[in-house]
């Protein structure tokens, strides 16, 4: 009897190993931010394998290195901001946006004694101020867009001071070299916790649902195997539902993956809700973002980026999930969000 059980176990192990080996593989690059957490959830909960794709996750600390890895074919999927892939596309790289990961997330930090002066619901509080930022970061591009929308002249009404890293921006705010600084998660939470700085505004307050990290891949790979990318996005859609409905377990999964303080992850993800994770491609947001980059003047010529956005695969993935769960409220909300933003 024992032999039969052992044999059965051995055969089932062999079968699952064979199944995993047979699954199409995707090498996925991400950056260590809580808002990239849908990857960790889809992996941890087994959604990728259930949907029929074997995903290997690779962490990057630099967008330039990450995008270069996608370009060189070392990664099948990249998630490295919006600016970096757009710049590469404008220079001829054949990339296609197929989904999204992070929405919002940028914040303005200041010294506690300046908080009252820089608070309020009007961006005009920043007129005449010196703002530290990382050039062409999402915060830079979107903040300029928000200022423009508010009728503030970015060239005359305030001064931008550029720094190489978010850490350098935090340092400049701390020393009083600038009045305020634009940074992203978890830098502002760490600045609050470690240096006593304060968040004066989240950019989301002035510019709802703006795009941060987008999911993109080499166009040739997407066109050659759209089915695998659909399975990948289906798993992320399911992970999104888990993240929306299971906060405690989600925080634990993110903490394990990122090795960041659990409290910071909980605050950013569920308490302050500084950024949302959403696999929607946000086509309109990408197009807006490109226009804001052009408005900065760093890139001298326009390029039709729209032909590098594929919303069809995501829509097919969402439809397939809704077909299996027609009454699910989260998936219905995702459909409404998709219709509004694409």
């Amino acid at each position: 009897m024992k032999r039969i059980i052992a044999l059965t176990m051995f055969l089932s192990l062999l079968a699952s190993a064979a199944l995993a080996a047979a699954l199409p593989k995707l090498r996925v690059g991400y950056v260590p931010e809580p808002a990239h957490g849908l990857y960790f959830l889809a992996k941890e909960k087994g959604y990728f394998k259930e949907e029929g794709v074997d995903v290997e996750l690779f962490q990057f600390g630099s967008a330039a290195e990450g995008v270069a890895a996608v370009k060189a074919g070392k990664l099948d999927v990249g998630t490295f901001g919006t600016t970096a892939p757009l710049l590469f596309i404008s220079k001829g790289s054949e990339f296609t946006f197929i989904g999204g990961m992070m929405v919002g997330g940028q914040a303005i930090i200041t010294r506690p004694e300046r908080l009252a002066e820089l608070s309020g619901k009007d961006l005009k509080v920043y007129k005449g101020k010196k703002i530290g930022l990382v050039k062409l970061s999402t915060g830079d591009v979107i903040f300029r867009g928000a200022l423009k929308k508010a009728g503030i002249d970015v060239k005359k009404d305030l001064t931008f001071v550029e720094f190489g890293t978010a850490a350098a921006v935090v340092e400049a705010v701390k020393k009083g070299a600038v009045d305020a600084g634009l940074v992203w998660p978890p830098h502002f939470s760490l600045a609050e916790k470690n240096h006593g700085l304060k968040v004066s505004h989240y950019i989301e307050e002035f510019y709802p649902d703006y795009t941060c990290c987008r999911i993109f891949a080499h166009t040739g790979k997407v066109n050659a195997d759209p089915e695998t990318y659909k399975k990948f996005l289906t798993a992320l859609i399911r992970a999104y539902k888990f993240y929306k409905t299971n906060p405690d377990e989600t925080v634990k999964v993110y903490t394990k993956a990122l090795k960041i303080d659990e409290e910071i992850i909980r605050n950013e993800t569920y308490v302050n809700k500084v950024a949302d994770s959403n696999p929607d491609p946000l086509r309109k947001g990408i197009l807006d973002f490109w226009q804001h980059i052009l408005a900065t003047g760093y890139v001298p010529q326009d390029y039709p980026v729209d032909k590098h956005i594929n919303t069809v695969i995501y829509k097919q993935a969402l439809d397939s999930v809704i077909k299996k769960n027609p009454k699910d409220k989260v998936y219905q909300q995702m459909l409404t969000f998709y219709k509004k933003n694409n």
Partner: protein
């Protein structure tokens, strides 16, 4: 076909290279040694300033300057790896790249300044003037392991640009000075400017991928070199101005307390 040709050239270059950092480090010195070709004209001034004022040494490089009377001869030397890098005219350099030589542009140099007030009205004329500007290229066989040397070389040229500006400031402050301004210098390779010249010259063929030129303009090296200089001299006005004019991929997301990416793993570092 083009890729095979470039690979073949790179292979030949590696076999015949005289560059000491390609070979095993000698007992005498571990300092990378580079033979840098330059046009014997004012557009290559940054190379000469970097050598004369010790900027290559500051970057830990031994550089031997080799003068060329024209770009054609210099590019031919670069192709056969008689030199490792060179500062030559944009038009000739881009034509060589379009012809499959496999060079990569890592920095800019001097650009003639148009004295014609009507020049700006003609789209092709600025491109023609820019075509006479100088860019710094590296040979096809430059090894991947030589990235730090490439960054050092570019950083030295940025330092030379700063030195030149400071010298000009001092000279213009001197009584009775009458400085002409025949050249504009910028160590930035500036992909968008090169693309404009590339387009005006009609070098993009149907067979080339859309990013053919971008693959031969190594802007990341310039950005890394500038970052390195700003790390040590964050308040330097010349470096800050160059940084504000550059189009570098932003540092998006490293987290101080996050899990470090193992350097020896590819693609970036496996997390889960």
């Amino acid at each position: 076909m083009m890729a095979r040709l470039i690979a073949l050239l790179a292979g030949l270059c590696l076999m015949t290279s005289a560059m000491s950092f390609f070979a095993a480090p000698s007992a005498a010195s571990e300092t990378p040694s580079i033979r840098l070709g330059y046009l014997d004209q004012p557009g290559s001034a940054l190379c000469r300033i970097a050598a004369k004022r010790g900027h290559f040494r500051e970057e830990g490089l031994r550089v031997e300057l080799v003068a060329f009377p024209d770009s054609a001869k210099g590019l031919a030397a670069l192709e056969r790896c008689a030199i490792d890098a060179g500062a030559f005219a944009i038009t000739d350099s881009l034509r060589a790249i379009a012809g499959g030589k496999g060079f990569r542009i890592i920095a800019g140099g001097g650009t003639p300044v148009s004295g014609d007030p009507l020049a700006e009205l003609d789209d092709t004329l600025p491109a023609e003037i820019e075509g006479r500007a100088v860019v710094v290229l590296i040979a096809a066989g430059w090894p991947d392991t030589g990235k730090q040397t490439m960054i050092g070389l570019t950083a030295a040229l940025i330092r030379a640009h700063r030195t030149r500006l400071l010298d000009l400031q001092s000279a213009s402050a001197a009584p009775g000075s009458r400085l002409g301004n025949p050249l504009h210098f910028n160590p930035n390779p500036d992909y968008y400017r090169l693309e404009r010249v590339w387009r005006v010259l009609g070098l993009q063929s149907i067979a080339m991928p859309r990013d053919f030129l971008a693959n031969h303009v190594y802007e990341e090296i310039y950005c890394d070199a500038l970052d390195r200089l700003l790390d040590s001299s964050a308040d330097d006005p010349v470096f800050k101005k160059l940084s504000s004019q550059s189009v570098c991929t932003p540092d998006c997301c490293p987290v101080a307390t996050g899990k470090k990416v193992p350097q020896n793993k590819t693609p970036g570092g496996k997390n889960q």
